[in-house]
């Protein structure tokens, strides 16, 4: 492969590549948009049944055409009509089988998928033994042959895709509500059964327009992978649908270009694998649910919680020491002097370890992080001392904690034995405004004036 060839393909100078790209791009976008609704309905695999059930429809259409006028069997339009009829028949059959009480949805889908495909194979083997027939033209529907798309094919795919996208756009609100809360939609008096039928028809339509390019075996991937990938980027349904459509189009484009560059790569499979690549990237880097972002957020909050826990542990140890020495000033008459005193008092590692139920590894990690943050320092004697900044943090953390404990005892009707645990977890999410409110509430209660003291004693 020369650079010139590469540029030629990538800049779409090839008429055929342009044509094929256009067709598959639109199909990919449709698959993504319709798939987004199916993902929300948790019926991602209905598309799988629709596509496999299309095979007997295609075979039957071919046989009928041959019986009417020999040699006319491979008219693509009628074969696609047959495919749509087969899919619809398969889905109706799956619905009927599910009405048998003992057969659940998964089994009904599996039965229809495999048995209809079996019928298709029987028909294909029959067609193969006809004098006019080789199933070569038909097996393109199974494996897909994007490169063989003609201008007429692309035109009909484009029209069908536009129609599908238009319907999705016009009925966006209705279809969304159907997916989120079917019974609410029914209570509003919407024709949920008609909408459900419409959505299923859209799935069938997407399956059928994708068949010539991607093949019926893999067409379901375009309904499942793009919306699942898009889910990592957003929590909102509208953007989800758009991103899903875009990702579907993107994977189609990548697949077509790669298969145009490398000979013998089946475009359908490459499109699916491109989708898988996009999925992996989305899963790692997605801005809403991406693994990396979630991991970083998790680390951040772990760090934050660790620091607050450490500060509070230090403060409580110091408090104990000074109270024991009889110089603690509970009413904070001289806060400045008091604070200077506390920062001078050493805290040993063992004291810290006994203060809370943390492992050695965790405690060392937290201490190192605190030293980096400059809230604690380790002196030559091996003991730790809070810095002025650390003292400020420690006072605030302890104060928040105790205020929250008070709040839980007085207002939230929590059993006192559970207070400490819950307070531990919640003090880190307590907002400053709420703290102010609590302070003023509890300030009035003079009996509880000694806020910094832990009610558990």
């Amino acid at each position: 492969m020369t650079a010139a060839e590469l540029i030629r393909v990538l800049t779409l100078q090839d008429y055929n590549t342009r044509l094929v790209l256009c067709g598959t791009l639109l199909f990919g976008a449709c698959g993504g948009v319709v798939g987004a609704f199916m993902l929300l309905r948790k019926k991602s695999l209905v598309g799988d049944v629709a596509s496999h059930a299309a095979l007997p429809g295609i075979g039957l259409a071919y046989l009928i055409l041959e019986a009417i006028a020999p040699g006319s069997g491979k008219t693509p339009v009628w074969l696609l009509v047959g495919a749509a009829a087969g899919s619809a028949g398969g889905l109706v059959c799956a619905g009927l089988i599910q009405r048998i009480r003992l057969i659940k949805e998964d089994a009904a889908l599996g039965i229809v998928l495999s048995v209809f495909f079996g019928m298709g194979i029987v028909l294909l083997s029959v067609i193969q033994s006809l004098p006019t027939g080789s199933s070569a033209g038909l097996s393109e529907f199974i494996f897909g042959k994007a490169a063989a798309l003609t201008a007429a094919d692309v035109l009909s795919i484009a029209i069908a895709s536009m129609l599908i996208l238009l319907i999705c756009g016009l009925l966006f609100k209705e279809l969304s509500l159907l997916c989120f809360d079917e019974s609410y939609a029914a209570a509003l008096g919407w024709p949920t059964r008609c909408l459900d039928l419409l959505l299923t028809s859209l799935v069938v339509a997407v399956t059928v327009i994708g068949m010539p390019s991607v093949g019926l075996l893999l067409v379901v991937a375009q309904l499942v992978i793009p919306p699942t990938s898009a889910r990592f980027w957003t929590d909102r349904h509208g953007p989800l649908t758009i991103i899903s459509g875009a990702l579907g189009g993107l994977s189609s484009a990548i697949g077509i270009l790669v298969s145009a560059l490398v000979p013998r790569l089946a475009a359908g499979a490459v499109i699916v694998l491109a989708g898988a690549g996009i999925f992996i990237v989305s899963m790692l880097c997605g801005s809403r649910r991406g693994v990396i972002w979630r991991w970083m957020r998790h680390r951040q909050s772990r760090h934050h919680i660790g620091q607050l826990d450490l500060m509070r542990a230090c403060f409580e140890i110091l408090e104990g020491t000074v109270e024991h020495d009889g110089i603690f000033d509970p009413d904070h008459h001289h806060p400045a002097a008091h604070e200077r005193d506390l920062t001078a008092i050493p805290v040993s590692y063992d004291q810290l370890r006994d203060a809370r139920s943390w492992s050695d590894v965790r405690l060392r990690e937290v201490l190192l992080a605190a030293q980096r943050d400059g809230s604690i320092r380790q002196d030559a004697d091996g003991h730790y001392r809070l810095t002025v900044e650390g003292m400020r943090l420690a006072r605030r953390a302890t104060r928040n904690h105790r205020l929250w404990e008070m709040y839980l005892i007085h207002f939230a009707h929590t059993a006192p034995s559970r207070v400490d645990r819950e307070a531990d977890e919640i003090e880190h999410v307590l907002e400053p405004e709420l703290v102010e409110q609590l302070e003023s509430l509890l300030e009035q209660d003079r009996v509880r004036a000694r806020v910094p003291v832990n009610p558990h004693g």
Binding site: L102, D106, F117, G118, T228, V270, G275, M283
Partner: protein, 473 residues
């Protein structure tokens, strides 16, 4: 191979026998784990596995043929000749083990990946499965296309299997097809494992919480089931292809489920159904296409894909079971419903005659039997059956209750009025709301319940409307 064997039994060759046997063994091997998957509502796991093992099989196959080319492994002997059965066996075993390891690896990778995606990506289960198995299937198809000339794998074979040519790939020196041995071994292994782990599987399937409480690790049970499913799928893969294997997994179990409510019976039945479906499938593949196609103008057609026909035949069996199964069949439930409707219609007619006699009203038959908007055909049918059983007699004055008819009518009206009274005592309902429910409940109060009601209501004599409650005979 054609339908001639119907008239000339000799046309059924030994190859046909071996095809049927291989198909039957594959179907039986699949039916065992498939029934469990069905009961655990994990049928789609079979679907996912059968797709996901493809890249493993292809890679293992390519690796093996590469090693044979390089000379690291002894190449299979083209004509092993008589007396070298043992060597042939070891080659079969080696080949199968390599394929199995490849497929098992890719099955495990697929399971881990979908678990990982489900947990870390917080993706719904079926979507996670969908992403993984379509991607892996695509990878497998891509590899087949890329290396089509290196390995004798062709994409069609992956879908349709090569059951028809199975008779030509025999164990050296015998007529036994390799595939028959592989699938037969799978039947034995599956049977053995399911017998050994029967209790664990049962507990984990029907009451996983109880199982967990008794120290059974649910993950281990799933793992065992998944491994034997994967192994079975690989074994049957070559014969029937990736997609028809799903039919072999699910359909016999589903058919057996319709025929029996007992687990042991179900498992045995699924084996029988699987074998019967496979053998019938081959027979139909040889006969049906010719019969049908010659009628519609394609006399050239002689037979059709056996594997496909096996799937269709087993589905036919499923539909048959759904229709005529003695316990859950559609016909049975229709008959039950029809019988109940007839009983209700007959009792309603008796009640009407009783009330007519009570009020000494007269009128035509249509007036007597009318329920507001005429008399339906079903009511006339019910009347005929009453006349046949001599519960009523026809006369010039219209229909008259016979003695037994009057007794039945009294029981019914007694039920009706007792219920009305009961409703009036215990619920604050207006009088005109009592009749409608009593009209329905009257048909379902047996003698014991009637006596109990009467006792609770202190053996009443009149209903809330002031009518006499007839005394039971």
């Amino acid at each position: 191979m054609s339908s001639e064997f119907l008239t000339q039994p000799s046309a059924w060759s030994s190859i046909d026998t071996w095809i049927s046997v291989t198909g039957a063994l594959a179907a039986m091997a699949c039916a065992l784990p498939g029934t469990w998957l069905l009961l655990r509502r994990q049928s789609l796991l079979g679907d996912a596995l059968s797709h996901a093992v493809l890249p493993g099989i292809v890679i293992a196959y390519l690796g093996m043929s590469w090693m044979e080319d390089v000379g690291w492994l002894a190449a299979p002997v083209a004509d092993a000749g008589l007396g070298r059965v043992a060597e042939g066996m070891s080659l079969v075993a080696r080949r199968q083990i390599v394929l199995f390891v490849g497929a098992a690896l890719s099955g495990v990778i697929a399971a881990l990946l979908s678990e990982f995606i489900q947990r870390w990506g917080r993706v719904e289960r079926s979507a996670a499965l969908g992403v993984v198995f379509t991607s892996m299937f695509a990878l497998g198809l891509l590899l087949i296309r890329l290396f089509a000339d290196r390995a004798h794998l062709d994409p069609g074979c992956v879908l349709y299997g090569n059951l028809e040519t199975t008779g030509f790939d025999t164990l050296a020196g015998t007529e036994i097809p390799r595939a028959a041995i592989v699938n037969g071994v799978m039947v034995l292994i599956n049977g053995l494992l399911i017998t050994v782990f029967y209790k664990e599987l049962k507990l984990n399937t029907f009451d996983p919480e109880l199982g967990a409480a008794q120290g059974l690790r649910p993950n281990w049970v799933s793992l065992v089931l998944m491994s034997i499913t994967a192994a079975t799928v690989v074994a049957a893969f070559e014969s029937v292809g990736a997609i028809l294997v799903i039919a072999m997994l699910i359909v016999p179990g589903a058919t057996a489920r319709l025929c029996s409510d007992r687990l042991g019976t179900m498992l045995v039945l699924s084996l029988v159904i699987a074998a019967a479906g496979a053998v019938m499938g081959h027979v139909f593949a040889l006969t049906l296409p010719e019969m049908i196609c010659s009628r519609i103008g394609f006399p050239q057609v002689k037979d059709a894909s056996t594997a496909g026909m096996m799937a269709v035949t087993s589905f036919g069996g499923f539909l048959l079971a759904a229709l005529v199964s003695p316990r859950h069949g559609i016909i049975r439930s229709w008959m039950d419903r029809a019988r109940l409707s007839l009983r209700i219609a007959r009792e309603d007619l008796l009640g009407k005659l009783y009330r007519r006699d009570e009020t000494a009203a007269t009128g035509t038959l249509a007036q007597t039997y009318s329920n507001g908007n005429g008399v339906g055909w079903f009511a006339w049918f019910a009347r005929n059956s009453l006349i046949r059983q001599q519960l009523i007699q026809t006369g010039s004055q219209g229909d008259i209750l016979t003695e037994s008819g009057a007794a039945a009518a009294r029981t019914l009206v007694r039920s009706h009025r007792l219920w009305e009274l009961y409703m009036a005592r215990h619920f604050e309902l207006p009088d005109d709301h009592l009749h409608a429910t009593a009209e329905q409940v009257e048909h379902f109060l047996g003698p014991e319940l009637q006596a109990e009601l009467a006792a609770e209501l202190d053996q009443p004599t009149t209903d809330p409307h002031g009518k006499t409650i007839p005394v039971d005979n």
